[in-house]
């Protein structure tokens, strides 16, 4: 079953296409990572799917409801956390959650229970009676997640939920998102690849308003796996980089650090050539080889390859 479906969803601002014919399908119960660089069209997509803005062309469905800005029944089924959640600073955290619960027409007894449950979940019990104006950014983000969950949404939209957080805040928010797995469909936009890699099952990569690829992360890794080699030597192997860079079948060579150890990461244009020639080059270098591995690329490798090239793969 699909929780989200877009058909040719397009949004123009004057002559600029913020989103250009998005076709997308998100399976029910998945955590979908919507990746893209800044200005790629992620927030526009989220706002379109939550009915906050109207498309120039195309149609979309969320939780079996066609998107319309005036659709009250759609808004009963979704939760939304904007990139920078805003609150009424004069309210306390609990007051805001109750207010959102009332907007969803929940019975007062359920509102109270749900507020307690969510405040505990986002670790804001101790600050629930404090004015939101005094909350830190991380606390506001966690309250934002809590308010988006009050109605037990079928589909939860999170727009860059971790972008403004420090590492501790980010870890907390990601762990909350992980706990939502199987409870609902989560559509999470982000430009932080490691966050998406950590919590999402499926990713869509968007660049300049167009969807470049959409696939489960593991499938994506396998699709791009054949071309990345990692080499580790006992001695300093930096001189080998310039030698490898000169070869026509090599797309990219870089020295990276893995657990503090220097590793040569090589991305091949032609894997057959690499399989034939790389062992020979290593042998002739006279260096002591500690590790030779054809690796799964990180999401970052795939992202840079796709977004950098700007083409469909």
């Amino acid at each position: 079953m699909e929780a989200i479906r877009c058909e040719g969803l397009t949004k123009h601002y004057g002559s600029i296409a913020a989103l250009d014919g998005l076709n997308l399908s998100v399976a029910e119960g998945s955590i979908f990572g919507f990746l893209g660089p800044n200005g790629a069209g992620k927030t526009t997509t989220v706002k379109l799917l939550t009915g906050l803005i109207t498309p120039t062309e195309g149609r979309a469905w969320v939780a079996d409801e066609e998107i319309e800005s005036s659709s009250i029944s759609l808004r009963r089924k979704i939760g939304y956390l904007p990139e920078e959640p805003s609150f009424y600073n004069w309210m306390s955290g609990r007051e805001f959650l109750s207010f959102v619960g009332e907007l969803h027409h929940l019975p007062s007894r359920e509102i109270k229970l749900r507020c307690d449950e969510l405040l505990k979940m986002v670790d804001l019990q101790g600050d629930a009676e404090r004015r939101i104006g005094g909350y830190s950014r991380g606390m506001r983000q966690r309250l934002g997640i809590a308010q988006s969950l009050i109605n037990r949404p079928e589909v939860l939209f999170l727009d860059e939920p971790c972008s403004a957080l420090d590492p501790v805040g980010r870890r907390e928010v990601l762990s909350i998102i992980q706990r939502l797995r199987a409870e609902m469909t989560v559509f999470m936009s982000s430009h932080i690849l490691s966050d998406v890699e950590r919590v999402c099952d499926v990713v869509g990569i968007i660049s300049r308003g167009r969807l470049v690829t959409e696939s489960p992360i593991e499938e994506l890794r396998e699709r791009y796996a054949r071309s990345v080699f990692e080499l580790q030597f006992e001695e300093d192997a930096s001189h080998l980089i310039s030698q490898l860079e000169a070869l026509p079948w090599v797309a990219k060579v870089e020295m990276v650090r893995l657990n503090g150890e220097p590793i040569i990461r090589l991305q091949a244009r032609d894997v057959n050539h690499a399989n034939l020639e790389l062992p020979r080059i290593v042998a002739s270098s006279g260096l002591t080889l500690l590790r030779y591995e054809l690796t799964l690329p990180s999401l970052e490798d795939i992202f840079i390859e796709l977004v950098g090239s700007g083409g469909e793969k």
Binding site: L52, I72, Y80, F87, W90, E102, L103
Partner: protein, 248 residues
């Protein structure tokens, strides 16, 4: 009007917790107290030769001064507390947070008007009571029913202006721009009300009708009441129409 009652409750709470109710009430009360006291004590603050030249102040002098202060300085206060009602919420993102919930955009606007109108009406009622008390005590009998009618008409005038302010606030994201637009619209309305053929049909006629009623029997201006109600409905509709098309 989905979510209207919840939003009205929130607006009323906001008026209390952000002290808007107390600020407007304080300002209006000041006018209610200052107007009668100024006229009563003025002879004591000016030289005797000037006192001899001063006319004997009457209830109507006090009422006219009170109404003038309310409709100018009071109106400024009302513009200041309401100009950001929609503009600021759109700009800072709280409108998006609320309107992605099962809430109609019409409810969002109507709740704002109700909250701000109640603040203004409470302030007006208290200022009226105080002004009535002081004026009756210091200057003699004041027609209570006429004074009540004046305040009902003033209340309608303020609510009409609030609807105009909300429309301006829904048009732009900047509260100062919204306030400026509203001020221009209200001043424009006052200028138009000075045109003899049109004046009787404008909301500003409510104020002069109310003042005339305190003085004694006065020609009615029910058309001004109808036009004011029409302006409120049209402004609410236009605000909804604009907000429906605005990107949040």
């Amino acid at each position: 009007m989905t979510g209207l009652s919840v939003l009205i409750k929130k607006e009323l709470k906001e008026q209390l917790k952000t002290y808007k109710l107390f600020i407007v009430t304080g300002i209006f009360l000041l006018f209610g107290i200052v107007s009668p006291l100024t006229f009563y004590f003025l002879p004591e603050f000016v030289p005797e030769e000037v006192v001899a030249m001063l006319p004997a102040f009457t209830v109507m002098d006090v009422v006219k001064e009170y109404v003038e202060m309310l409709s100018f300085m009071g109106m400024l206060a009302v513009i200041l507390i309401s100009m950001g009602a929609i503009a600021t919420e759109r700009d800072c993102g709280t409108a998006a947070m609320v309107l992605c919930k099962p809430v109609g955009r019409g409810s969002f606007i109507v709740a704002k008007l109700v909250g701000l109108s109640l603040t203004t009406i409470v302030a007006l009622a208290l200022a009226g009571l105080v002004c009535y008390g002081y004026t009756s005590f210091l200057f003699g009998e004041v027609n209570g029913w006429a004074f009540l009618a004046l305040h009902l008409l003033l209340g309608l005038f303020f609510v009409t202006c609030l609807a105009v302010i909300l429309l301006c606030s829904s048009l732009v994201k900047n509260e100062l721009a919204a306030g400026g637009m509203a001020l221009v619209a209200i001043i424009g309305g006052a200028i138009v009300s000075g045109i003899p053929a049109i004046g009787d049909y404008t909301p500003n006629r409510l104020v002069s009708w109310g003042t005339e009623l305190v003085a004694g029997p006065a020609p009615s201006a029910w058309w001004a009441v109808a036009v004011s109600l029409g302006v409120i409905v049209v402004c609410l509709f236009l605000s909804w129409f604009v907000l429906q098309r605005k990107e949040l």
